[in-house]
């Protein structure tokens, strides 16, 4: 039996996006409305399974009457609000944010960011060769996933997924302050000395590839990672009776990564160590 959750009926409210009238249910964000209207708003720290953190500020839009720009991902739509998403002011802030990010961290594995850099005519090189960067070596301290903080934009998504929003392990936090802030376990110890349970739910939400499974990291290092040659097959995890959906990413007849659909009502994209990382037996063809 399939149950479609309907929820409490919500009133619709009307407001304006770029001169067009938008009608969204009460409680929807400006971003929800923009997406429904087909307006592209770049996002990095926003996650479909997490509460908005609005840390990256790349989704900012102009709202009439507001002194500053507002983050579309977290600001709820209000009746009569007048929102503009493509003004010079908006484009300026997005461009600078992209320049600041791209000049300080490695965005080479961040999906779509290259398109946005082109679209907003961002020039990350303008800060010169001396511009400070988050120079961190990849941390390979376990066999399941790798933390490459040279790619980290501090979106807080991994912290939220590890903490009270999903996993409740609280293994990681932001440590330090300002430009020196980093995601870390207590005393910046290796993961193996921490509360990490290797569910990999942080890897799932990471928007930049700073967190990746060891298999993906190794294949990228070897130059063999090729998403165009990968197929995705969704199945049910065979380990226990919960019934999590697994999406197997297969390249050359080998499972290279396991995820779960974010709209799956059982997992919401989350898995445990077995579902996400325990697939080697399938490939044991001996």
């Amino acid at each position: 039996m399939t149950v479609t959750p309907l929820g409490i009926p919500r009133r619709l409210l009307e407001f304006t996006i770029d001169g067009e009238t938008a009608r969204v249910p009460e409680g929807a964000t400006i971003l929800d409305a923009c997406r429904a209207a087909g307006t592209d708003v770049p996002t990095l720290c926003e996650g479909d399974t997490l509460r908005p953190k609005n840390a990256c500020r790349v989704c900012v839009v102009e709202v009439e009457g507001s002194r500053t720009l507002v983050p579309a991902c977290s600001r709820r739509a209000e009746p009569g609000m007048v929102v503009r998403t493509g003004t010079e002011r908006v484009r300026h802030s997005r461009r600078i944010v992209l320049e600041l990010l791209a000049s300080s961290v490695d965005l080479s594995t961040t999906p779509r960011v290259a398109d946005w850099i082109k679209e907003y005519e961002a020039k990350p090189d303008r800060f010169g060769p001396g511009a400070a960067r988050v120079d961190e070596e990849p941390r390979i301290d376990n066999e399941l996933y790798v933390r490459d903080y040279g790619k980290c934009i501090l979106c807080y998504k991994c912290v939220d997924a590890c903490g009270d929003q999903w996993q409740n392990s609280f293994a990681i936090s932001v440590a330090g302050r300002g430009f020196d802030a980093r995601i870390a376990v207590e005393h910046d110890a290796p993961l193996t000395d921490s509360a990490c349970v290797y569910c990999g739910n942080c890897v799932e939400v990471c928007p930049t590839g700073a967190l990746s499974s060891k298999s993906e990291f190794d294949m990228r290092a070897a130059g063999t990672w090729d998403e165009s040659r990968q197929t995705e097959t969704t199945t049910v995890c065979a380990y226990c009776g919960v019934g999590c959906n697994l999406t197997l990413h297969v390249q050359d007849n080998e499972i290279v990564k396991v995820t779960s659909p974010h709209d799956n009502p059982v997992t919401h994209g989350n898995l445990c160590i077995k579902g996400r990382f325990g697939y080697q037996h399938v490939q044991n063809r001996g």
């Binding site: 500053t68 300026h92 600041l100 936090s173 376990v185």
Partner: protein, 653 residues
């Protein structure tokens, strides 16, 4: 919560420091030795987690006694409070006064901010470092020092209370030229709020009890003495010494500073104390809010929000309990008025907080005071204790059936915690990162409950409003900026200090009062987040509307005068450094923008004209994005002063 704790154990001293705050552990779940009863009994759930707000006091307890926070100590504190160690580590590393690496028991904080920079902070820093040895990393940022050698003595701490600094103690021998010499670490500090006595240094020696000594105005000799022998360092001058007008007729906010004994509740009452609270009880909560609204009082912390409206909005919230927070985390470079009020007339704040709590229906008031204010903390703590003992705080204030008490929380070196929502997070035991608004504090503030947060000066203004009545108060100042205002004057003047003037006095009048000198190059209004004006703009009226019209800001009332002794580009670079150091790192425009701003100002520090043009364009573009897209006021104002220097003063032209 199924928390994971490492194997590190606390030392006896660390355990004692935590237990002195929290009491002995009840069971092995909290870190005591395991007993049979523990197998059948577990402490957990909300009750165990609800004490998260004691994390910051716990970190202070450790840092105060030991001088740094070790793995074992942090683990024990986490066990006691059911806090995940990773989060506690994130909190401990957020504050610059804490260290998670071993360091000497004594830390000498040498202020390098604007007023001190113009008064010779560089020489003071060089002198103290030469005498005491500097940190390997030059002493920037306490939490991130790279001291590798474990520094023995500071860690085993048992004798740190007795240690007399130079000469003895195991750590002095190690030396390594790495801040360990003499058992003192010299650290550069942002503004210590002692601008009227620049240059300033603050020594903090861990132990039981922790000892502090202020040296201001400091010479290398007095600063070193404060660090090596804080107990025999000369007493600070009286608070009234920072108030050149002290004792004058007609003062309203400062009238008791230098007149009353700040430790005596009776003396406070003999000078009109607790009259306002009696008026408040006669008026009732709604009547108090009406008076405050009619008075036209607006927030003095810098944002100038109408106080009465804030109180009304909170009082009207059906959600309970309501909270009152007094923001005494005065960290804006150049600001020291709240310190003077706290040191010179602490009971006034206790009374004002009681009135505010009564008006908004709050029974708990939190006073968040910056960690760099040891004497103000002692004074206000004493005042709260006295008031409690005498029935002015507690379950039944003045027999009126109103319960109200004040908890004091100390900051630990983070400018951002002066932002109202960051301050909530700090009190609650989280990293002091601002929250996004809406929801606003009047709806969801401290602990998610309706909260009024007011600056010290704002609250103290409530007393004259109630004693003289709203119309008489509103008659002071201008129509849009009512009442008296405190100004913190420092820099190139003969009589630096806190001045009280009615709103509407001009900048020139204030500078004349303070003894402005010739050769003025620029005046900074509002601190690092404010803006520069030229010496030919002295006619600017010091009101919120007047400064706005003139395209600048009043901010928290900072007026800093500069002559040519320090080149303007150097000052701007220091402001940029300040924002880079103090950015919490949450949002990209501020976290990276403040770094790029500092880099650009570094490049053009000796350039002008065409050679600086491309970097000025870059600064403008980054500054505009910081102003438009940052989460909070820190990032939004981080470019203000630099912009005003370029546009108004013609810097780099």
């Amino acid at each position: 919560m199924d928390l994971h704790f490492g194997d590190s154990k606390p030392t006896d001293d660390e355990r004692a420091a935590v237990d002195a705050l929290l009491g002995p552990p009840e069971s092995s779940w909290e870190g005591a030795d395991r007993s049979d009863a523990d197998l059948r009994w577990a402490r957990g759930g909300r009750e165990a987690r609800d004490r998260r707000d004691l994390l910051l006091p716990g970190l202070h307890a450790l840092n105060d006694r030991i001088g740094w926070i070790s793995e074992g100590a942090l683990g024990y504190l986490c066990r006691r409070l059911t806090v995940p160690p990773a989060e506690a580590y994130g909190v401990a590393t957020f504050y610059s006064m804490f260290s998670v690496r071993p360091r000497p028991a004594t830390v000498l904080h040498v202020c390098t901010d604007l007023a001190c920079a113009t008064a010779g902070a560089a020489e003071l820093l060089a002198g103290t470092e030469e005498n005491l040895g500097a940190g390997e990393d030059g002493g920037t940022g306490g939490g991130h020092g790279e001291e590798e050698d474990g520094d023995s003595g500071a860690g085993d701490g048992g004798d740190s209370g007795e240690r007399r600094g130079a000469g003895d103690g195991g750590d002095s021998g190690k030396g390594r030229g790495a801040g360990a010499r003499g058992g003192v670490r010299v650290e550069r500090s942002p503004c210590l709020g002692l601008c009227e006595r620049a240059p300033a240094a603050l020594a903090i020696r861990a132990g039981d009890p922790v000892r502090t000594a202020v040296s201001a105005p400091a010479t290398t000799g007095t600063a070193v003495l404060a660090a090596v022998a804080p107990d025999s360092s000369p007493e600070e001058p009286r608070a009234a010494a920072a108030v050149p007008q002290a004792g004058q007729e007609g003062l309203i906010l400062l009238r008791r500073v230098g007149v009353v004994d700040p430790s005596s509740l009776d003396d406070y009452r003999a000078h009109g104390g607790y009259m306002a609270l009696r008026h408040a009880f006669a008026l009732g909560p709604a009547g108090v809010i009406r008076e405050v609204t009619d008075s036209g009082l607006v927030g003095r912390g810098g944002a100038a929000f109408p106080t009465g409206r804030k109180w009304q909005a909170t009082a009207a919230q059906p959600d309970r309990p309501h909270h009152l927070v007094c923001n005494a985390d005065e960290s804006e470079p150049g600001t020291f008025k709240d310190r003077v009020l706290l040191e010179g007339d602490p009971y006034a704040l206790v009374e004002a907080m009681t009135i505010a709590g009564y008006a908004i229906g709050a029974h708990r008031g939190f006073l968040y005071i910056r960690g760099e204010y040891p004497r103000a903390t002692r004074r206000i703590r004493h005042a709260v204790e006295q008031a409690r003992a005498r029935g002015f705080l507690g379950d039944d204030v003045l027999g009126q059936g109103f319960a109200f008490d004040i908890e004091i929380r100390r900051g630990a070196g983070a400018y951002i915690c002066g932002e109202e929502t960051a301050l909530f997070n700090s009190i609650e035991g989280f990293r002091g990162e601002p929250r996004s608004k809406p929801p606003f504090p009047v709806e969801q503030g401290l602990f998610g409950k309706p909260t009024v947060e007011n600056n010290v000066e704002t609250l103290v203004n409530v007393l004259p409003i109630l004693t003289m009545g709203a119309p008489a108060y509103a008659a002071i100042g201008t129509a849009k900026s009512t009442g008296p205002k405190l100004f913190c004057v420092s820099g190139s003047v003969d009589r630096p200090g806190v001045y009280e003037l009615p709103f509407g006095a001009t900048l020139g009048e204030l500078l004349e009062l303070a003894g402005g000198r010739d050769g003025l190059r620029a005046i900074l209004l509002g601190g690092a987040a404010g803006g520069f004006v030229r010496p030919d703009e002295l006619a600017i009226p010091l009101t919120f509307e007047g400064t706005r019209e003139a395209g600048t800001t009043l901010g928290s009332g900072v007026v800093m005068a500069f002559d040519d002794s320090v080149p303007l580009p150097r000052l701007l670079l220091r402001i940029a450094e300040f924002f880079r150091d103090e950015s919490c790192g949450q949002c990209v425009p501020c976290r990276v923008g403040t770094v790029r701003q500092e880099e650009a100002l570094h490049r053009i520090v000796t350039r002008t004209g065409a050679a600086a043009a491309s970097d000025i364009t870059l600064l403008r573009e980054v500054g505009r994005a910081m102003r438009d897209a940052s989460i909070c006021g820190l990032g939004q104002t981080a470019w203000n002063a630099v912009e005003s220097a370029i546009d108004r003063l013609g810097a780099y032209a």
